[in-house]
């Protein structure tokens, strides 16, 4: 089923996709002329496939549950923010805060993601085939951020228990983020993440980063500071 956003309103398209009649067999949708609209495909909650042909605005596929959304273009700020499950695949570049606070599911970005990719992520898997901007994985709590390109400054600043794997160069690490051992268990874990998206990359060549756990744990030595 096709929607044309130059003919239908954003509200009409979103409302249709958010309230799928499960008695019908219609599960595949194409959206043409997205024209940079915001919040397109936000709040989808059924197992449907949506392909967006063109560039979209902010918060595309935010809060996604179960749906598979493919964007054949670039996305604005906060793609797949607070995603719960499902798959969001961006074929172009992503703007800031991609996958912010995502709790589950997978976000794949074929191009680059800019600043604060995976900020406060809480369980989502984010795979960026290009590079990520500064302060990516800021305060990331859990989940995996896999970067096949490079990372800009302050990667993983104030990170909790999310895992970062980076194949390229890291300009600098943020506070309390350190390089960690890439042991067999980690290689296996990363292999599974890459294979799930048919990505051919050698997991042994990645470096892993995570929390030094000195910032978010209470230390009795610091008691006088509080």
């Amino acid at each position: 089923m096709n929607f044309d956003l130059s003919k239908k309103t954003l509200r009409e398209v979103n409302s249709y996709l958010q309230n799928i009649d499960l008695k019908s067999n219609q599960r595949d949708f194409v959206i043409k002329n997205p024209l940079g609209n915001h919040a397109l495909c936000a709040g989808l909650q059924d197992e449907i496939k949506v392909t967006i042909k063109g560039h979209v605005g902010y918060y595309c596929a935010g809060m996604n549950k179960k749906a598979e959304v493919t964007i054949e273009g670039n996305v604005g700020t906060g793609v797949a923010e607070n995603m719960m499950s499902g798959l969001v695949h961006v074929k172009g570049n992503a703007s800031q805060s991609a996958g912010a606070t995502g709790q589950g599911g997978t976000l794949v970005i074929d191009g680059d993601a800019s600043s604060r990719c995976g900020i406060s992520m809480k369980g989502i898997n984010i795979i960026v085939k290009g590079s990520v901007g500064h302060m990516s994985a800021f305060m990331a709590q859990s989940g995996n951020l896999v970067i096949l390109g490079d990372a800009d400054e302050y990667l993983g600043d104030s990170i909790y228990e999310a895992k970062i794997y980076c194949l390229g160069k890291v300009k600098s690490l943020g506070a309390d983020c350190i390089e960690k051992e890439m042991n067999d268990k980690e290689i296996k874990h990363l292999s599974a993440l890459l294979e799930a998206q048919n990505i051919k990359a050698d997991p042994k060549k990645f470096k892993r980063y995570g929390s030094a756990r000195s910032l978010y744990n209470f230390k009795i030595d610091n008691v006088s500071s509080y």
Partner: protein
């Protein structure tokens, strides 16, 4: 309010006519501002009849000064210069005082006008636009995306934290910069353009 005036002629006229506000001067850049719906403002000034090498449009959500024509962007504090700004500067009062000492004149309490004055002051000393904006990274405290135009070209700069958005589309025929893609979704061939986000703290400039 069309102002395409030579500076030498402008000053005596202004002294005699108190009801005129000068929004800019020079030989090639024209500035139009008004409070109202952008559609009406565009119609009133017949912007569709204009041609040129570069143009900047700006609508403002007022934070640092009132919703008035005076508080509207672009700000121009030098010949054929203009600046629009998304963001807010925190050290504009101190900077305004020091720029006044250098002979820069201000007409409003607006923070963006101070940034425009800062740029004029630097360009006056033969510093390039690119170098001026690079120096601005340490002198202008706050958060911002700036677009500045001169007779020769234009430049864009985001502060190093980069919480204010910007997107650039480049084709072989034009360069477009906007806060978000939606603003340029109707440009010709934009879907074939190279679209990217300017990196924080890096000056991107064209023709300047």
């Amino acid at each position: 309010m069309k102002h395409l005036l030579n500076q030498k002629k402008t000053i005596p006229i202004l002294k005699n006519i108190q009801d005129i506000d000068l929004v800019g001067y020079g030989k090639s850049i024209e500035i139009f501002k008004q409070v109202g719906n952008p559609k009406d403002v565009v119609k009133k000034f017949s912007l569709d009849k204009f041609s040129g090498s570069h143009a900047i449009g700006h609508t403002r959500m007022a934070t640092e000064s009132a919703i008035t024509t005076d508080g509207s962007h672009p700000y121009s504090t030098g010949e054929d210069e203009c600046l629009v700004h998304n963001g807010s500067l925190s050290n504009h009062n101190n900077l305004r005082r020091s720029l006044i000492k250098d002979g820069i004149e201000f007409k409003s309490q607006n923070d963006t006008e101070v940034a425009a004055g800062y740029i004029s002051n630097s360009l006056k000393n033969k510093t390039s636009l690119k170098e001026t904006l690079t120096n601005g990274l340490k002198d202008l405290d706050g958060f911002y995306t700036f677009i500045t135009g001169t007779q020769k070209g234009f430049a864009v700069l985001r502060d190093e934290i980069a919480c204010k958005p910007a997107v650039i589309a480049e084709t072989k025929d034009y360069v477009a910069i906007a806060s978000e893609f939606q603003a340029m979704a109707h440009l010709p061939d934009v879907n074939k353009a190279d679209i990217y986000e300017p990196k924080p703290g890096i000056v991107y400039s064209w023709g300047s």
